[in-house]
């Protein structure tokens, strides 16, 4: 954990940090979906999968290489793979 905090500090001092957090395990998930015009609430994760989202970081990055640089540092510490995806670019935003 100490290493994770150190990395987060590094992200903050580099101006890359926006937000991040670790999620509780998939068994704690509740799913809400529209059914017959009504929002239905059910227990369980969205899909049963071998891999699940354990947490996320939102970083400000100049380009993909910069984002991959942060992802590489993170995965080296937490030992789990990281998927990197850009936010949708809103035209005119």
């Amino acid at each position: 954990m100490q290493q994770v905090y150190a990395l987060q500090d590094e992200m903050k001092s580099a101006g890359a940090w926006v937000f991040g957090g670790r999620l509780t395990e998939p068994a704690t998930a509740t799913v809400v979906r529209m059914s017959g015009g009504e929002a239905m609430t059910t227990d369980g994760p969205f899909v049963e999968a071998k891999e699940h989202l354990g947490g996320f970081y939102i970083v400000e990055a100049e380009d993909l290489d910069a984002a991959l640089g942060w992802a590489s540092k993170t995965t080296a510490i937490i030992g789990a793979p990281i998927e990197v995806r850009p936010f949708w670019d809103e035209p005119g935003a």
Binding site: D63, L64, D65, R85, P86, D89
Partner: protein, 422 residues
């Protein structure tokens, strides 16, 4: 005197046909597209503009003659076409404003750019071969954007339907834009990791061309030439990278004998039976010179070692006179750097020439590459030399069933037949 005067006007002499215009364009395509991508920051804008300039040249050049500097004309005309088109579109006007901002920033190159060679095509090949893209996408983008091949040509070379290839290109370009894959030569500390897929893509393009035996004597044969052109370009831009020049040497030495791999009737000719007087000796000389420079530099890598092995083959007047001990030493080094079963198999072939087929067969039988037809073909050849015809026939038959081309299947089947009916 009158002739000399006429000569100075001959810059604009007519007589250039459409095929020649096409050839000049393909030659210049990569450089122009790469420059326009830097200027406009948009691959589609760059591609469309160069295409538009091509259409203009097709109208002007056959009647009016070549401009003094065709490559420069193509880049300038493409840039003007792009600006004209962008001014007509509202999205384009926005883009142009951004470009103007970007270009002011360009006056002071950033620190990481100063250390690297400045050529737009070099940036472009690193973008096309970015590890975030699939190998299929890397190859398609490289051939389309740097090689100037049409989508249809790329599709045919890889035996893929044209719409499939078009979609592959669109998706790859979309990923480059959406994820902002940078348009730059990677910094020094990243270079070894980032160069690997670039070299692999060029080698894959060559091998796809070389594996297409049916195309050896036809005009479809664009991939091998294109791979060599790309390797040459990369070697001219990154002369200080030994593996880059090693790849160029490997391609030249392999290419020097490619056309002797098929007999006039289309059947396969093994290295030992090839007419060595028909090998391309200019290519061999160039390959040898590069290999010597690599040995001198003494920073070996897989491409340099394979080039050196091919240089030893090219040096010999026959398979008997080949210095197999030297080849084995090089394979030992190659196997240390790249411990894969395919390299081990090739090393075993050299062992077969140095220590005999029995030692080689023991090595080959220890390899786990059952689906690879050269594995069975090598076993078959060793079994034949060990006077075990029945086992050899079985191995030849298995190899034939796995071989990807008709010429190879025919060759392997005929070997099996020779042994069953001597």
């Amino acid at each position: 005197m009158r002739d000399a005067h006429a000569g100075s006007d001959a810059d604009a002499a007519p007589g250039i046909d459409e095929a020649e215009v096409g050839r000049i364009f393909r030659e210049a395509f990569g450089r122009s597209v790469a420059t326009l991508i830097r200027l406009f920051g948009d691959i589609d804008v760059a591609e469309d503009a160069v295409q538009e300039a091509f259409a203009l040249a097709l109208r002007k050049w056959p009647g009016g003659g070549l401009p003094p500097n065709p490559g420069g004309w193509i880049t300038t005309t493409s840039r003007n076409c792009a600006i004209d088109r962008l001014r007509r579109e509202s999205r384009g006007r926005e883009l142009l404003r951004e470009v103007a901002v970007l270009r002011r920033g360009d006056d002071k190159p950033s620190a990481e750019e100063v250390g690297s060679v400045q050529d737009d095509r070099l940036r472009l090949i690193f973008t096309c071969c970015h590890p975030a893209l699939s190998t299929d996408a890397q190859v398609a983008l490289t051939l389309r954007l740097l090689g100037g091949l049409s989508t249809g040509e790329v599709a045919r070379a890889f035996l893929v339907a044209e719409p499939t290839m078009a979609q592959r290109l669109v998706r790859a370009k979309r990923k480059i834009t959406a994820t902002r894959i940078p348009y730059r030569v990677p910094p020094e500390n990243e270079l070894p990791r980032r160069l690997r897929p670039v070299l692999a893509v060029i080698y894959l393009i060559y091998n796809t061309g070389a594996g297409n035996l049916a195309a050896v004597q036809s005009s479809d044969d664009v991939l091998c030439g294109e791979a060599i052109r790309l390797a040459r370009l990369l070697a001219s831009l990154m002369a200080e990278e030994p593996e880059v020049t090693g790849l160029l040497a490997l391609l030249l030495l392999t290419e020097s004998r490619r056309h002797t791999r098929l007999a006039a009737d289309g059947s396969l000719v093994l290295l030992r039976d090839q007419d060595r007087s028909r090998w391309d000796h200019a290519m061999i000389a160039e390959g040898h010179a590069i290999v010597r420079a690599c040995l001198h530099r003494n920073q070996p890598g897989p491409y340099q070692l394979q080039a050196a092995i091919n240089a030893v083959h090219a040096d010999a007047d026959s398979v008997q006179e080949t210095d197999w001990c030297q080849i084995l030493v090089l394979y030992d080094q190659h196997l240390t750097l790249a411990p894969t079963p395919v390299v081990a198999l090739n090393r075993a072939i050299a062992v077969g020439e140095v220590d005999g087929p029995a030692v080689a067969l023991a090595l080959v039988d220890g390899l786990d590459i059952d689906g690879y037809h050269p594995f069975h073909a090598t076993r078959a050849d060793l079994l034949r030399r060990l006077d075990q015809p029945e086992a050899a026939v079985t191995a030849y038959t298995t190899a034939a069933s796995l071989a990807p081309t008709e010429a190879e299947r025919n060759f392997l089947t005929s070997q099996a037949r020779l042994l069953s009916h001597p």
